[in-house]
Amino acid sequence: MKSPIYYKTKKITLNVLIHLFLISVAVSCLFPLVWMIFASFKTQDTIFKDAALIPKVFHFENYYLAWVKGGFGRYFLNSIFYTVSVVIGIVIISSLAAYAFSRLQFPGKNLLFVMFLVAMMIPIPGSFVALYILLNKLHLRNTPAGYILCMINVGLSTSIFLLKTFFDKMPKELEDAARIDGCTKFGIWWHVALPLSKPVLAVVVIFNALNVWNEYILALIIFDSKGFMPLQVALQTFQGEFVTNYPLLMAGLTITVLPIVLVYLFMQKYIIKGVMQGAVVG
């Protein structure tokens, strides 16, 4: 019979090992971000030569230069504009459709809904080729409107599916009450259904916002003019031009990443829950 101390030591050792493992992975997750942020305060001469992680002198002016001279201020506003427009578009269009698919009657309803579902599941690699041609024909290439419409379409199917699932489970009493009070269908959608679906809308908003902010390939093929480019494409072109000013590029990368990380930290509850619930349902 082994002594209780043996078991206790064994348990503590196991726990220490598990934590060491978890912490080392966590450090690897944070390291590139930390390295990038410190590098953004270094100078062109020392940025890669200097083995020390933390610079001796912090060059805050890199951010001013990146924002103004590097054009990242413009690209940042472009990214904000695209993200906000696409998310607003998706929320309104997908919630209208999802409400209809859940509550209203019209011929062809099931067929249309199945089409959205199928679109969600079929992968079309290289669909950007056809979108390029389409936008050319519609004279929407190299325009913000063309990009925004494409990105609304990208998020539409999944958002409709999420919202319809939610509306299906929503009790009908409130809507009945609103109808008796003389509310129109659009009034019920706006005053009753939308406010009730806030938890799901949060998931729709966050995931679509992340998706637009991080999108690269469509922006690459749609925009020729630098003035329209969002951050992701601008970062890549910045690197190709002239002799790359690395500290400015690091500042640009930080400007690109920081909003995402901040949103994630504030909304982590919805993001992590969204993924985990999706996993259990799927």
Binding site: F48, I93, Q105, F116, I122, I152, N214, A279
Partner: protein, 295 residues
């Protein structure tokens, strides 16, 4: 009155359906149509070539099959290494452990970053002076292993492995959350009952955890394959291009057909072939898992 009401109902779905038809259905049909033509994307004339593009891709385009093999290699690493790491981490976090929420928060940071940013930052960390900080090689020298030093991203024999590892770093957080969600659905009573019956930790892991996790593992595997086979922006950020084919993947080939050789029809045929491959592979995985579950 009823007609008016039905028309009103159609108004709800009208915007979604219009956008869906213009930006999904029409491009989808065009891909299939253009796959049978040669077209440079500019001139109004297209030449019908029938199955010519498909034949060329299947029989005369080694660079295409090489890109599929490369993507297959990255996917293999993601399926094994990345998902094993994700499972281990999830299993470690599924117990009464401190800082559980902290770990969960941190592990999902790489997945929320864009592939391009992840590629670029890791590229600067890995590449040697003067294009990067060369931290891995510096670390190897510091550890007294200078013979392991190499150009991780500039050597054609290591570039694909480096890409696969960084891809796994970016992706394991998804698997981690999916596995953790799965593990949390297993009732604790099962483990306690097994303990009472004298089972040790390993036995309850193989007899309870593994069998109950099969559906979750299959889901994670299908998502990993679909996601990894189609990944390409990470390579643009990390390597800067296809590296003469050493780091090419199918979507980069499609992009090259369209942008650099202006062969729009060919690009569409490549897209169709690749789409079919993806559908067949995920269907096979699904069937295989069904069989495995039935024993």
């Amino acid at each position: 009155m009823r007609l008016k009401s039905t028309l009103e109902n159609y108004l709800f779905i009208l915007p979604a359906v219009v956008i869906f038809f213009i930006f999904y259905v029409i491009p989808f049909l065009w891909v299939f149509q253009l796959g049978f033509y040669n077209w440079d994307g500019i001139l109004p004339t297209k030449t019908f070539v029938g199955l010519g593009n498909f034949k060329d891709i299947i029989f005369n385009d080694p660079s295409w099959w090489r890109s599929i093999r490369n993507a297959g290699f990255i996917t293999f690493i993601a399926l094994t290494l990345q998902n094993a790491l994700a499972f281990l981490l999830a299993w470690a976090c599924d117990r009464q452990i401190r800082l559980k929420n902290f770990y969960r928060l941190i592990f999902f940071i790489p997945p929320i970053l864009s592939e391009l940013v992840v590629g670029m930052v890791w590229g600067f960390i890995i590449r040697d002076n003067p294009q990067g900080a060369g931290l891995i090689n510096r670390g190897l020298v510091a550890l007294g292993l200078p013979n392991l030093v190499r150009g991780w991203l500039s050597d054609k024999s290591t570039v694909l492995t480096t890409v696969a590892l960084i891809h796994s770093w970016k992706g394991f957080g998804w698997g981690f959350l999916i596995f953790l969600a799965g593990l949390q659905t297993i009732p604790r009573e099962l483990y306690e009952a097994a303990k009472v019956d004298g089972a040790n930790a390993w036995q309850s892991f193989t007899k309870i955890t593994i069998p109950l996790m099969v559906p979750v593992v299959v889901l994670a595997a299908i998502l990993t394959v679909l996601g990894t086979m189609q990944a390409f922006v990470l390579i643009i950020g990390l390597v800067g291009g296809e590296f003469a084919g050493h780091a090419s993947v199918p979507v980069l080939r499609i992009l090259a057909s369209m942008r650099y050789s202006s062969r729009f029809g060919y690009a569409c045929s490549q897209g169709i072939i690749f789409g079919v491959i993806l559908i067949v592979v995920s269907f096979m995985q699904y069937r295989f898992s069904k069989k495995a579950r039935q024993g």
